[in-house]
C-alpha cells in the first residue's frame, strides 16, 4: 500500500514509537503540523499589507465536521480503512483515529504512532479538503487501555462515528468500550454470518438506550429495492392489495462477492415490509431441509380481518448470485392474484415485473448500480439522527430469528 494509491496526498507526517501514548504531545504535534501547512496570507495591517505565514497566519478557519474511530485487526484492514476515507467525496471526517490491534508487533509493549495531515486531490489539482489521521499501532488488546487513549484524542463537540469494518462484535470488549463513546455505529450486517444464528448478534445492538445509533451498509444496499417494491403499490389501484399479501419469497446470495452473506439483507427486507404493514410474527424462521428458511406472519387488513403471510428465504449459490439479494417476489390475493417480482440480473441492473387481474404483464429493466464501500460510508457519515423505519425493521426482523 503506497500513498500513490490514494486519491489524496500526505501533506505532512510525523511518526514515532513510545512506551506510553501522550495525547497532549499528539495535540502539540498537530498544532505544529498545521502551522507548517498553513499557506502564506496577505492581510491589511496598520502599516499596509503584511505577508503572514505559519503560526503568524491564524486567520484560516478549518470547519471541523466529525470524528471517525475505526479498529483494524490487521494491516490489510487498516489500509482499507485509510484508503476508503481518502476517497470520500461528500463529507470527510476532520479527524480519523485508526487503532491497529496487532498481536505480532515487532517491538512488543510499545506504541507506534503515526500522524498525518492529508489533502484530497481535486481534478484540477487545486487544494482539496485537509483532514487529520491518527494511526496507533499496538499489541495492547485491553479495551480499557485503548478507549482511554481514543477519548482524549477526539475533537471536542463533534459527533463521533465508530466504523466497525469487521463483522463480529459481540463479546468484543474493545467494541463495547468504544461504543460507549460513539454517537453512531457504522457496520455491515452482511458480515455477521451465513445464517439466522450468526445474525442474532444484531439483537445485542438494539433497545439499549446507551447504545449508539446504528447505521448498516446492508440497509443502504436495500434502498433501491425498497423504492422499487414501493413503486409497485403507488397506484391507488394496487395500493389496496398491500392488505392481501399472501406470500413473500426472497432469494439471497449465500456467499457474497465480499465473503459476507445476503441473509441479513433478506431478513431486513422482511422486517421492513412487515413493520410498514403492521405484521406480527406467528412462527419465527425455521430451517428447511432443502435449504433456506420459512416463517409465518399475521397481517391484519383495514376491516380488522387477519390472515397469514407465508415467508420464504432461500439461499442462492449460483454463480450469478454474488450480491445481497437475488430476487424478491410478492404474491397478493384480494379475490384475484397479483404477482410482483424484482430480480437482480447483474451488478448494475434490476429487472422488475408485475401482473395483476387489471394490468397486463409489464417488465422493465432499471439501472441500479451497486454502491461502493466509499459511497456507503460517505452516506452514513451524513446521517446523525436515528432512522425510525430502520429501527422498526430491525426490531421485527430480529423477532423473526429463532431462539
Amino acid at each position: 500500500m503506497t500513498d500513490k494509491e490514494y486519491r489524496n496526498k500526505v501533506v505532512v507526517r510525523r511518526n514515532w514509537d513510545a512506551d506510553v501514548v501522550d495525547t497532549g504531545h499528539i495535540h502539540d504535534e498537530f498544532n505544529k503540523m498545521w502551522a507548517e501547512v498553513t499557506p502564506t496570507r496577505i492581510v491589511s495591517g496598520p502599516y499596509g499589507e503584511e505577508r503572514l505565514t505559519g503560526h503568524n497566519a491564524p486567520d484560516i478557519m478549518r470547519a471541523n465536521t466529525l470524528n471517525l474511530v475505526s479498529v483494524a485487526d490487521s494491516l490489510e484492514i487498516a489500509g482499507m480503512i485509510l484508503q476508503t476515507i481518502s476517497q470520500l467525496k461528500d463529507f470527510i471526517p476532520s479527524r480519523t483515529i485508526i487503532i491497529i490491534n496487532d498481536p505480532n508487533l515487532e517491538r512488543p509493549k510499545t506504541w507506534h504512532i503515526d500522524l498525518q495531515i492529508n489533502e484530497t486531490l481535486t481534478k484540477d489539482d487545486s487544494h482539496g479538503i485537509q483532514f487529520e489521521t491518527i494511526t496507533i499501532w499496538t499489541d495492547q488488546s485491553s479495551a480499557g487501555v485503548l478507549s482511554s487513549i481514543v477519548g482524549p484524542l477526539l475533537v471536542a463537540e463533534l459527533p463521533t462515528f465508530l466504523w466497525w469494518p469487521s463483522g463480529e462484535f459481540s463479546h468484543n470488549a474493545i467494541f463495547d468500550d468504544l461504543a460507549l463513546i460513539a454517537d453512531r455505529l457504522v457496520f455491515d450486517s452482511a458480515r455477521l454470518g451465513y445464517d439466522a444464528h450468526a445474525v442474532a448478534d444484531y439483537r445485542t445492538l438494539i433497545d439499549e438506550p446507551t447504545d449508539p445509533i446504528i447505521g448498516d451498509f446492508t440497509w443502504l444496499r436495500l434502498a433501491p429495492w425498497q423504492q422499487l417494491i414501493a413503486q409497485f403499490f403507488d397506484p391507488l389501484a394496487t395500493q389496496k392489495s398491500l392488505e392481501s399479501i399472501d406470500s413473500v419469497s426472497i432469494a439471497y446470495a449465500q456467499d457474497r462477492q465480499d465473503h459476507g452473506s445476503g441473509f441479513a439483507a433478506a431478513l431486513l427486507t422482511l422486517g421492513w415490509i412487515g413493520s410498514r404493514l403492521g405484521w406480527e410474527v406467528i412462527e419465527p424462521l425455521e430451517a428447511r431441509k432443502v435449504g433456506g428458511w420459512t416463517a409465518f406472519m399475521a397481517a391484519t387488513d383495514s376491516s380488522g380481518r387477519a390472515h397469514e403471510v407465508q415467508i420464504r428465504l432461500t439461499p442462492d449459490s449460483t454463480p450469478g448470485a454474488k450480491f445481497s439479494l437475488r430476487s424478491v417476489e410478492i404474491v397478493t390475493n384480494d379475490g384475484t392474484a397479483g404477482h410482483y417480482v424484482i430480480q437482480r440480473t447483474d451488478q448494475d441492473d434490476l429487472v422488475t415485473s408485475s401482473e395483476t387481474a387489471t394490468t397486463p404483464y409489464v417488465s422493465r429493466m432499471v439501472f441500479s448500480r451497486r454502491h461502493s464501500t466509499v459511497e456507503m460510508l460517505g452516506q452514513e457519515l451524513q446521517r446523525f439522527g436515528p432512522d425510525r423505519v430502520f429501527e422498526e425493521s430491525i426490531r421485527l426482523a430480529t423477532q423473526l430469528l429463532p431462539e
Partner: protein
Amino acid sequence: MQEKTIADSSYNFAVDSTGSGVAADHVGHQFDLTEAAGGVATNPLRAGLQMDRMPDPCVMVIFGVTGDLTARKLMPSLYDLAIGHPLPEGFSIIGVSHRDWTDDDFRAQMRAAVERGARTPVTDEGWNLFAQGLFYVKGDFDGEETYTRLRERLEQVDTERRAHGNRLFYLATAPRFYAPIIEHLGSSGIGHRQDIYYDNQAGWNRVVIEKPFGRDINTARQLNAEIGSVFSERQIYRIDHYLGKETVQNVLAFRFANTLFEPVWNRQYVDHVQITVAESLGVEERAGYYEDAGALRDMVQSHILQLLAVIAMEPPALFNGNALRDEKVKLLRAVVPPSRDDLMTKTVRGQYDEGFMSGRRMAAYRDEKGVRQGSKTETYVAMELEIDNWRWAGVPFYLRTGKRLARRVTEIAIQFKQVPHLMFQSIGDVDLSPNVITMRIQPDEGIALKFAAKVPGPTTQLRPVRMDFLYGSSFGDSGPDAYERLLLDAMLGDPTLFARRDEVETAWSLMQPILDGWQDMALPVYPYESGSWGPAKSDSMLRRAGHEWRRP
C-alpha cells in the same frame, strides 16, 4: 364555513374553521394552500424511505428542446438525476421543436449534450436505459397540429411507460412563445387547470417557466394572466436558478439555524449591506436579448432581488412553499425604490467600454456583434434601496451588477457598525475597521467574518483578521447543479424555491419606477473600462453616505 379574509390588491386568502386554507387568485380561481399530498403519500411502504424524494412517474415535455438551455442545463441535469436514482421508473421526456428530427436523432443529440454537461460519466448501459424514455415531436409552437401529435404521443407514452397522466411542461423557448404554447396546451386539453392537484386520479399537470417573466410590470401581469387562464398558481413554477444554488439556500441555514447571528441582524447593529453580482464575461452571444433587456431587467429584477429577499426577510415559520415565499413578498413590499428625484443620486447606469482583462484588450459593448450603434443599454447598474420596516429602517442596501467587471463574483456583505466606544484610541496605533460578514455565492462558496484581533506581543496593536469558511474545504464535492435540485422539486410539487406570481409582480413594481424614470429623464449611461469595478459615479454614490464599495 367561517371565513376570515385578508385582502390585498392581488389575492384574497380565506381560512376556514378547520384550518385548511384555500386562496383565490386575481381572476377568482381558487387553489389549495395545503402542501402537496400526492396519492403516493398513502402508500405505507413509502413512509420514511431514505430516498423519499422520489417523484411520481411522469412525462416531462420540453418545448424548445433544440435550444441551448436544454443542451447545456436541462438534459445533463435530468441524466444526473436519473442515474443518481431519484427519478421514478418510467420517467420519460418528450422534446418539442421545429427541427426535423426523429426520436433517434433527438437521442443522439441529447447524448452528445449529456456527455458534455453531466456530472455523471455516461456509459452505454446507463445511457440506453435513460434514452428508452426520450421521444421527439416535431412542430411549430403555434401550430394546432403540433399539439394533436403531442397529445397522441403523450397517450402512447402514458400507456407504455405508465406515467399515470402526470405531466411537467417545461418552456425552454424564447419568451415570445410562452403565450401561444400555454394557450394551445389549454385549448388542446393537454394541460388543464387543477386547483386542488393532490386529487391525482387524472394525474398532475405543472408548467415550468424560465425568466424573464415579462419585461416590465405590464407584460409580467399579462404573462401571468395568460398562464393563469390555463393553469392555477399551484401548477406554475417560475424558475430562477439562483434559488437552486446551495449557497443561496445556505443563507437561510446560516440565518435561521444559528442563534448567533439573528440578534444582530437588524438596524441596531448593521451599518449597511452590499450585494454584488459581478460577471467577467461580456454580452457574448446574447446581444439580441440583452439590447432589449439590460442589466436591470436581466439581473436586478430577478436574481439580486431574490438575494435581497433571503438576506433581509423575517424568519418564516416553516420551510415550505408558501411560508418562505410569503416572507419574501412581505420584504419586497417593504422595499422603497428611489423616488424620481433621487434617481440621479441613488441609481447609476453604466456600459462597458474598451479595457484590459487578463492582459487582453477587450472590446467596448457598443462594438460587440449584434449591439445597436450608439446603444444606451446598461451593462452595469448600482442602486441604493431602503427597506421600510421595523428591522431595517435607515439601513442602506447597495446593489450592483455588471458585465466585464474585474472578476466574476457574487457575494452579500453585511457591514456592522463601529463599536460605540473606542477604548483603544488612547493607545494610538489602531486600525479598527468594522466587522463584516460576507456570504460568497460564487465562486469559492463560503462565509467569511472579519473582526479585530490583537497582534501578539508586548504592545497593544490591533489588526483586522478574516476567518474564511469555504464549503469546498469542508464538505467535499459540490452538490448537485441548481437545475437538478429545481427540476426534482418541480416534479415533486415543491414550489418553495420557485418564484410566486405576487413575488414576480412585486419585484417588477419596484423596478418599474426606475425604468420609467431612466427613460423619461434620459439619465446618462456612464462608460466604464472593461476589467474595472464599474463607473466612478458608482463610487461617489456610496461616498456621499460615507461608505465605499468592497473589492470582492
